[in-house]
């Protein structure tokens, strides 16, 4: 059975990161991040869902590592939020999923 959960993180940098995550059998199916932050390249942000897909929701360290690597390699600039906010939004969504 698939679970859909939503997480929201208000960043200390001033903007909001939201995530809609779909979970099946304890693994992330997709995690769509949205919000009023700023960043480039715009298209790259949709890849974050793809790189997180398949990870176990209990593998917190692995999830953090994948998010850090994504921002280091794919994102040229991010403002109003930090990679930590993306992690926190996802953790909140996953915790809500039990």
């Amino acid at each position: 059975m698939e679970l859909r959960r939503h997480g929201i993180q208000r960043s200390i940098h001033g903007k909001t990161v939201r995530v809609c995550v779909t979970i099946s059998e304890g693994r992330i199916v997709n995690a769509v991040f949205t919000g009023d932050f700023f960043g480039e390249p715009v298209e790259a942000f949709q890849e974050l869902s793809r790189v997180l897909a398949g990870l176990k929701i209990t593998e917190n360290e692995k999830i953090d590592e994948v998010i850090d690597k994504f921002f280091e390699e794919k994102v040229t600039w991010l403002a109003g939020a930090s990679p930590e906010d993306f992690k926190l939004a996802l953790i909140k969504a996953i915790e809500g999923a039990g």
């Binding site: 940098h13 009023d36 932050f37 403002a79």
Partner: protein
């Protein structure tokens, strides 16, 4: 300086906005300041989720169109009493380090200078707002590519704040962070602040002078080039008038089909 607008076609207005930045980046046009308006439209940030940020059923009820822009930031409501400003710089730009956040600060200063000419004391408030006291009157968004730095913003001259409050679904977390309970309490208009029926031309002229003072230039009136019109047409067809672009990142949302249906209905009334 350009004053070109298609108020009844926000999709084309947005296509022109991106075409201008591209033309400046390519060196086809000089650094360009544009003033323009949409009528009765929500402009949503490029990373935002339609269903979460906008009350689409209310948009349908009030005939409010929705278009996604190519810059980040939050959803804003535009009507004919809201003035948009946009400035495109070829890199390297006059903004220190070509930094977008610094761009908000400098462009914010230009707008504050303009508002002062109208007798309104406003302040730039990071990340990207211009406020009068505790209330927001203008917000900005920007883009940085290898070729251009672009900043645009909208300023509430006399907009219908009641509709704005109905169609935007601002998260409770955001309002709490701003110390207010409702959108209505968070925003103001130039007309409310000056206490008279100020004209759009007066505001535009004051802002133009503010930009000229800040950037130490005199903007010459100009027209769109053929290159810009051609690129705008392509962007309009392939991007801004398309459902794919306007739906944005949420292609797997359970509400997607309902959103597509409403979007089609809202966009069907666009005329250039």
């Amino acid at each position: 300086m350009l004053e070109v607008e298609w108020r009844e076609d926000p999709y084309y207005n947005m296509a022109v906005e991106e075409a201008l930045a591209l033309a400046v980046g390519e060196g086809i046009a000089p650094n360009t300041l544009r003033f323009w308006r949409n009528d009765n439209t929500i402009v949503i940030g490029c990373f935002q989720c339609l269903s979460l940020e906008i009350r689409l059923q209310e948009c349908l009820k009030h005939g409010v169109k929705v278009v996604r822009r190519f810059t980040g930031g939050g959803a804003v409501y535009h009507d004919a009493q809201n003035l948009n400003y946009a400035i495109s710089f070829k890199r390297p730009s006059p903004i220190s380090r070509d930094d977008v956040l610094e761009g908000y600060r400098v462009v914010g200063r230009a707008v504050v200078r303009g508002l002062r000419r109208l007798g309104v004391e406003a302040n730039f408030v990071p990340v990207n707002d211009i406020q009068i006291g505790e209330r927001k009157v203008s917000g900005m968004a920007g883009a940085l590519t290898t070729k251009f730095l672009f900043i645009h913003g909208c300023i509430l001259v006399g907009s219908n704040i009641e509709i704005l409050s109905k169609v935007l679904n601002v998260p409770r977390e955001k309002l709490e962070a701003k110390g207010v309970g409702t959108v209505r309490a968070r925003v103001t208009t130039i007309r409310d602040e000056v206490g008279r029926d100020i004209s759009m031309d007066e505001v535009k002229d004051a802002l133009l002078r503010g930009f000229e003072e800040e950037f130490h230039v005199e903007f010459e009136p100009g027209e769109l080039t053929k290159w810009e019109l051609d690129v705008a047409e392509k962007l309009y067809r392939k991007k801004y008038a398309s459902i794919e672009w306007n739906l944005g990142p949420c292609r797997g949302c359970p509400e997607k089909d309902r959103d597509i249906h409403i979007f089609k209905e809202l966009s069907s009334t666009s005329t250039r």
